[in-house]
């Protein structure tokens, strides 16, 4: 078995696919950060080559479809362990049976694709609601999140559209990077946990936090207690960054 180890970027993944796809041996693609050496496996380090990545990208786009390409990108963002190999299987399947294989919702690989994609989309949608901004300076807002999936690229447009007249930062503490919006453009850049904590402690507590807490407590209907349902929609692991909890 050969382990193709890549740097974690999307282009890196496409480069790894370029090589792994042609390999006749049994292969596995794995992110450098997750890689655990195995005695019997051969390690092949892949450094990102944009021309190779572009070739894979373009051949998926032109020979399969935009939808399939977009599925692959969303699978990548799902950041689920071993998703790289689902992606490789998916690409092989599509090239073997043509793009219409996507209709076969009972096929195990297609089901996996649908499931992972839904998870990433689902969490991104949830976080459009769960991001909590703290006003750290007049009209400058900061938020910390720890999502399971790599959702910042999926929510950037939404937040940019909605809060176009305020500065904001949405910080993914797990992946140590953030959306930064400066009234002109929104972009992604690395941001460490320490830098984040400095930002968030730079100001007093926000008076609207306690008002929102009161609102939250007053809107609850005691007669209809149903915490199971609450947790199924809003799992406990997300509560840490919610001011009302």
């Amino acid at each position: 078995m050969k382990d193709y180890v890549y740097d974690g970027s999307f282009d890196g993944l496409l480069t790894a696919i370029f090589y792994a796809y042609q390999d006749k041996d049994r292969v596995k693609i794995v992110k450098a950060a997750d890689y655990i050496p195995h005695l019997l496996n051969i390690k092949i380090s892949v450094s990102t080559e944009t021309d190779k990545a572009d070739r894979v990208y373009n051949s998926i786009y032109s020979k399969l479809s935009y939808d399939t390409l977009s599925n692959i990108y969303h699978l990548y963002l799902s950041d689920i362990p071993d998703v790289e190999n689902v992606i490789l299987d998916y690409i092989k399947l599509c090239f073997k049976y043509s793009d219409t294989i996507n209709l076969a919702k009972n096929n195990d690989t297609i089901r996996m694709v649908d499931k992972y994609k839904r998870r990433a989309y689902g969490e991104a949608h949830l976080f459009k609601g769960l991001v909590r901004f703290k006003e750290i300076a007049p009209l400058i807002f900061y938020s910390q999140i720890e999502p399971d999936h790599n959702i910042l690229p999926l929510i950037i447009d939404h937040f940019k559209r909605r809060f176009s007249d305020q500065h904001f930062i949405i910080h993914d503490l797990k992946r140590q990077y953030a959306i930064i919006y400066n009234l002109k453009e929104a972009y992604l850049r690395d941001l460490s946990v320490e830098e984040g904590n400095q930002l968030s402690h730079s100001s007093e507590s926000d008076p609207f936090e306690s008002l929102f807490k009161s609102f939250y407590q007053s809107i609850t209907i005691e007669e209809r207690h149903n915490e199971r349902q609450q947790r199924s929609y809003m799992p406990k692991r997300y509560w840490k960054h919610l001011v009302e909890m």
């Binding site: 609207f208 009161s214 809107i219 209907i221 209809r224 915490e227 929609y233």
Partner: protein, 453 residues
């Protein structure tokens, strides 16, 4: 009074209005304005009662000149009263919105002075938000029954959604419990809003500059179990509202007693399972092509709470079954218990590649527990019992009689049930420490929200 105290009182007074959806409208900010509306609807948090919080849902005031029997704010009640100023509501909305706590504002009010004055105040708030503050978030505003046509027209220009709560499903019940209101006062604004929506749409097609009136449509709420109407009365009313007034949603709210009065039922236990079945029935009207009269009839005017409405219907129409998975048209698949919109779409998609076998169905999200009795797969029937109404009823019946659990006049002690070892609920592992909501007794308790029936 501090803003915090006002917020507590006027949120508590608004909480029994169940609708909190922010969906169905679309608005994006132009240039540097604040706010957008996404058509899917976004929940910002969930309360311990399991409900989605999307909007800042408050009353402008709970001072009321009326005395509706079922309402906590009626004038004869001795409760804390408060009133927001217009600016207070505007500021709260903007500040909450900027922190991404909410999708927007849901503003309602008790009736103070008179209907017109109240409607005028509500309109001032949303006018200020839209024009002075350039607020582009979601706004849902109540139309106050009895307010003038001009005021309702104006409010609709600023709102994404308007609603008039019918609350009581018949004129007789209205007379009994809300003597100050009448049917005309409620249906007049509803009709007016729906006509306006149509007229503006027509204009908008011709002149692109015409604004869209109430782009998120209108909704209403019905109280369940305070008055004697049966499920057929209620769903027929909903169907009329969808067909005639083009409502986006009808919400149902199990009656929770907040007052005691001789003309109110003495309820100990809000009929939440009945509410759950009505929501499921409502999905069947909106998304599955059913009519109220197919689901229920004069002989059986109420749902059997032990079965979801689709299973109920299928059992009463067993001659239409089984249907062949690989052949039945999409519309027929939709009527099979255990096949929701999503799985019906997947079946229609996957069988274009190759005929499906029985194992595939599970992979497509079909709930075989119910569906097995109503389908064949490549002409083979897989049901654990014959296609026979009584036999199927017996196997599908829940272990605990839900009709009993939903009896509003008795407090069901679930602890008794849980310590009875012969009854092991599937959903309650591990045995919850608090008394679980009885809604969990229905294994399909989430389907009234997802609509996958």
């Amino acid at each position: 009074m501090t803003i915090q105290e006002k917020l507590e009182i006027l949120t508590g007074a608004a909480k029994y209005d169940v609708s909190c959806s922010s969906s169905g409208s679309k608005r994006s900010s132009k240039g540097s304005e604040l706010g957008s509306v996404s058509s899917g609807g976004i929940c910002h948090t969930f309360t311990p009662d399991g409900r989605c919080v999307s909007l800042l849902k408050i009353l402008l005031t709970n001072y009321c000149i009326y005395d509706c029997a079922y309402c906590a704010n009626r004038k004869s009640n001795d409760i804390n009263r408060a009133a927001f100023t217009i600016d207070e509501v505007v500021e709260l909305t903007i500040h909450f919105y900027r922190r991404n706590y909410i999708e927007g504002l849901f503003l309602s009010s008790a009736v103070f002075k008179n209907a017109n004055h109240t409607m005028e105040m509500l309109t001032s708030v949303i006018q200020k938000l839209r024009t002075d503050k350039g607020f582009g978030g979601y706004i849902h505003v109540k139309a106050i029954p009895g307010a003038s046509q001009e005021l309702i027209n104006e409010a609709g220009l600023y709102a994404d959604r308007m609603s008039v709560n019918i609350e009581l499903p018949s004129d007789r019940s209205l007379k009994l419990l809300a003597p100050d209101k009448n049917k005309e006062d409620i249906f007049k604004p509803m009709k007016q809003i729906s006509t306006n929506i149509l007229n503006y749409q027509e204009e908008h097609r011709k002149y692109k500059k015409t604004p869209i009136y109430v782009p998120g449509g209108q909704s209403t709420q019905l109280i369940i179990g305070a008055t004697p109407e049966n499920d057929l009365d209620i769903l027929s009313l909903s169907q009329k509202l969808y067909d005639k007034y083009d409502l986006k949603r009808v919400y149902y709210s199990a009656y929770i007693p907040v007052n005691t009065a001789s003309n109110l039922p003495d309820i100990k236990n809000p009929p939440t399972l009945r509410e759950h079945r009505l929501y499921q029935g409502d999905w069947l009207l909106r998304k599955y092509g059913f009519k109220a009269h197919e689901l229920l009839n004069e002989q059986k005017p109420d749902f059997d709470i032990n079965f979801d409405p689709k299973t109920n219907w299928a059992l009463n129409n067993l001659s239409l079954f089984p249907v062949e998975i690989n052949q039945a048209p999409y519309g027929v698949l939709l009527r099979v218990p255990g096949i929701g919109v999503r799985s019906a779409q997947k079946i229609a998609s996957a069988r274009r590649i190759a005929p499906l076998n029985y194992l595939d169905l599970k992979k497509l999200g079909v709930v075989l527990k119910r569906a097995q009795y109503f389908i064949t797969c490549n002409t083979k029937y897989y049901g654990s019992v014959d296609l026979d109404e009584e036999k199927i009823r017996t196997v599908l019946k829940p272990q605990i009689d839900l009709n009993e659990a939903d009896n509003p006049y008795e407090q069901l002690n679930l602890f008794d049930r849980l310590s009875d070892s012969s009854w092991k609920p599937k959903l309650l592992l591990p045995l919850a420490l608090q008394i679980p909501s009885k809604l969990l007794l229905a294994e399909d308790c989430l389907t009234s929200v997802t609509g996958e029936l």
